[in-house]
């Protein structure tokens, strides 16, 4: 079972390849705001949720797919880890 660090690393890799192609990976730190900064727009958020559900075989409830739970890599890792 992956720990939060592993989830963060894998999610960072996904976000870099899908939404931040060509950007410096070092700038995507664990506390960078993804939704409130606009890195993840509505459609990108849907894509991230689908990716997390498929990768970790979890269900992210509708009320969880928001800024409170998906805004940083730390938030995402906590949410995913809580469901494993």
């Amino acid at each position: 079972m992956p720990d939060q660090n592993a989830i963060m690393a894998a999610t960072k890799s996904f976000i870099l390849s899908e939404f931040l192609e060509g950007e410096d990976p070092d700038e995507l730190t664990e506390d960078v705001e993804l939704i409130s900064s606009g890195i993840l727009d509505s459609l990108a958020t849907l894509k991230l949720v689908t990716h997390l559900e498929n990768t970790y075989d979890i269900k992210i409830e509708a009320h969880e797919a928001d800024e409170d739970n998906l805004n940083t890599l730390v938030d995402i890792a906590k949410l995913v880890a809580s469901k494993l």
Binding site: S36, S42, L43, L46, K47, T50, E61, A62, H63, A65
Partner: protein, 381 residues
């Protein structure tokens, strides 16, 4: 992979199809002409359990899964030619009941869901505004917190069930500067001071499904009637729209099957040049195309519902289903008119209405263009 229905599912579908065929079609030409909502039909559908197909039994529903539900709604659309009534029921289910289930407090669910499931109350969803359609989150209706109330001001348009609804899910922004993150949802009951229902909107098709404008003039909504957190409106709307896109056209698949059956019967019975018109390859090829559209539309519908039942999000599958079923429904209706020739163009034959009803499906719940805009990035284009 098992494509068959269980005995219970088959019996449910057969019962709903027979009920709809026998109870919902009389007087439809006149209701369509006058734009009359069939309230008696609404109540009869509620008694059949249709309004609560996928609502848990604790709220009076039947508690079926999504696949069984869309299968039942497909049967409704196959038996009933009143596409407007089916549309009103679906709007009620996917844009009022389901958001309540997903985001409601126990008190909100206990108060509203039994009334919606029983059909006593009609639900509606108020998002679109004169200046915001596809760009939904640019809405301008405001909700300002004042003590234990929110005060709503603004207007909405194209609201399905708007003039008959007892409960409206109204979207407004608590802070326009926050953009989509300021959008919140509120449960507004009919008769609340400050809620004005505008004129009934006259439209091309789905004329038996009522639609109206709404106006909010210092409409006071108790804080306990906010659905979800403040600012959760976007999240809630995304969830509601995903259900809607995935399932609202289940009756349309049934309607397409009904059109195909009618065309097959007509092609056998109608003689020209001394033989059935179905023997002419140009007619037969239209029937083949219709069959292909019905089957592929059905597959996408079932796939979206099945995946939902597996506990997965269906953003892609719902958009694919919405896009293909709506475009297939329009194409099938056009072919049905062509096969019926001049008779298909006549109101009394009840084929031309299908095209008028189908056309709106490429607009509501996100236009075909919006569906493609959703699908493309989900393919990592």
């Amino acid at each position: 992979m098992d494509f068959s229905w269980t005995k219970q599912q088959t019996e449910l579908r057969d019962a709903i199809r027979a009920f709809a065929r026998g109870s919902l079609n009389e007087g439809l030409v006149e209701r369509d002409r006058e734009g009359i909502f069939n309230r008696a039909g609404w109540d009869a559908c509620a008694k059949m359990g249709i309004h609560g197909l996928c609502v848990p039994e604790e709220y009076g529903g039947l508690g079926f899964d999504a696949l069984t539900t869309v299968g039942a709604l497909e049967a409704l659309g196959e038996g009933s030619r009143d596409n407007g009534l089916s549309f009103s029921i679906n709007a009620h289910m996917w844009t009022a009941e389901m958001p309540l289930l997903a985001f409601g407090t126990p008190e909100q669910k206990a108060k509203y869901l039994p009334r919606l499931v029983s059909g006593e109350w009609i639900g509606g969803n108020a998002m679109s505004e004169p200046g915001s359609g596809s760009d939904a989150y640019s809405l301008r209706t405001t909700a300002i917190r004042q003590g234990d109330h929110y005060v709503l001001n603004g207007s909405k348009t194209f609201i399905s069930n708007g003039n008959v609804a007892d409960l409206l899910l109204v979207f407004a922004t608590v802070d326009p500067a926050k953009g989509a993150r300021g959008v919140s949802a509120f449960l507004v009951e009919k008769g609340t001071s400050g809620l004005q229902v505008g004129k009934k909107l006259d439209k091309m098709g789905m004329r038996t499904s009522p639609m109206a404008e709404l106006f909010f003039d210092d409409l006071r909504v108790p804080v306990e009637n906010r659905l979800g957190k403040e600012g959760a409106g976007k999240n809630l709307f995304t969830d509601s729209m995903t259900w809607e896109r995935g399932c609202i056209l289940a009756p349309a698949v049934g309607a397409m099957q009904r059109l195909l059956d009618a065309c097959l019967a007509y092609s056998r019975q109608r003689k020209q040049f001394g033989e059935s018109i179905g023997n002419f390859q140009l007619v037969a090829s239209k029937l083949v195309d219709m069959k292909l559209r019905v089957e592929t539309a059905r597959s996408l519908l079932y796939q979206a519902a099945w995946k939902k039942d597996q506990g997965k999000s269906i953003f892609l599958e719902a958009a694919l289903a919405k896009l293909w079923i709506s475009e297939s429904w329009v194409a099938c209706a056009q072919e049905a008119i062509q096969i019926h020739g001049g008779y298909g163009y006549m109101t009394e034959y009840e084929i031309e209405r299908e095209l008028r009803d189908a056309t709106g499906s490429k607009l509501y719940s996100g236009t075909s263009e919006i569906q493609r805009t959703i699908i493309a990035p989900l393919l990592s284009v």
